[in-house]
């Protein structure tokens, strides 16, 4: 069972690394915005996995708030991108 948990956390960490490399490399600003969006989604998945692994129900509230803030942040970035030309 521990091996399975390690595999799950390894998958999430590898996805995190891929998104972070894209955030650093760009090459355009919308690429970075998409990478930030994916990073917050992966962080939410990690929070839920942690809540299940250590039996902490309250961490699911953090996932709710993170969902709301992610959507607002993405919309704000898109608005800024459209207006900056």
């Amino acid at each position: 069972m521990d091996i399975l948990w390690n595999i799950i956390l390894l998958f999430i960490a590898l996805g995190y690394i891929g998104a972070f490399i894209r955030l650093l490399r760009g090459p355009y600003l919308p690429d970075r915005v998409v990478a930030l969006d994916l990073i917050s989604v992966i962080a939410m998945g990690f929070i839920v996995v942690y809540a299940v692994r250590f039996n902490q129900v309250n961490f699911l509230d953090v996932a709710i708030i993170l969902t709301l803030i992610t959507f607002l942040g993405t919309v704000a970035f898109a608005y800024y991108l459209e207006r900056r030309i």
């Binding site: 399975l4 891929g18 355009y28 919308p30 998945g45 996995v49 299940v52 699911l60 709710i64 459209e82």
Partner: protein, 139 residues
């Protein structure tokens, strides 16, 4: 039995998140990258949340998980659409292997206007944009 179901859902969700990370790293174009991350990320989060609901097996957790999944299914396509629209308007070039660009003859990049007829060719500005360089002076 329940443990097997929970771990299977968790592994599938984590694998899909891993695929989203691979997709955003390896796809050649921002639009293809978005098509990888929006779908794989949404499905992966949905599977992980379903596994969490099955693990806790409480009424409050079920309602919260259903609320989160509903909200993600509602907002993830909207966010991807808005970012794609902003990227096209911003002039991010398409992948050179792209065979069709339906907006090209109907969209004028200078004032963001869309037309159902074709725009005369001298007014079309093909999106040509250099990569972002943060050393340039802010306007």
């Amino acid at each position: 039995m329940r443990e097997i179901l929970i771990m299977t859902l968790m592994l599938l969700g984590a694998g899909l998140i891993f695929l989203a990370g691979i997709g955003i790293l390896r796809m050649p174009d921002i639009f293809l990258r978005m098509s990888a991350t929006a779908k794989a990320g949404t499905l992966g989060i949905g599977l992980i949340l379903t596994a969490a609901a099955l693990h806790f097996n409480e009424f409050g957790v079920y309602t919260r998980v259903i609320a989160i999944i509903f909200f993600i299914l509602l907002t993830a396509p909207i966010a991807a659409h808005i970012i794609g629209r902003a990227a096209y308007f911003d002039g991010v070039p398409l992948w050179e292997g792209t065979i069709q660009d339906d907006l090209k003859k109907h969209y004028r990049i200078t004032d963001h206007a869309l037309y159902s007829g074709e725009i005369p060719p001298e007014e079309i500005l093909v999106p040509q944009k250099e990569a972002d360089d943060f050393s340039e002076e802010p306007e």
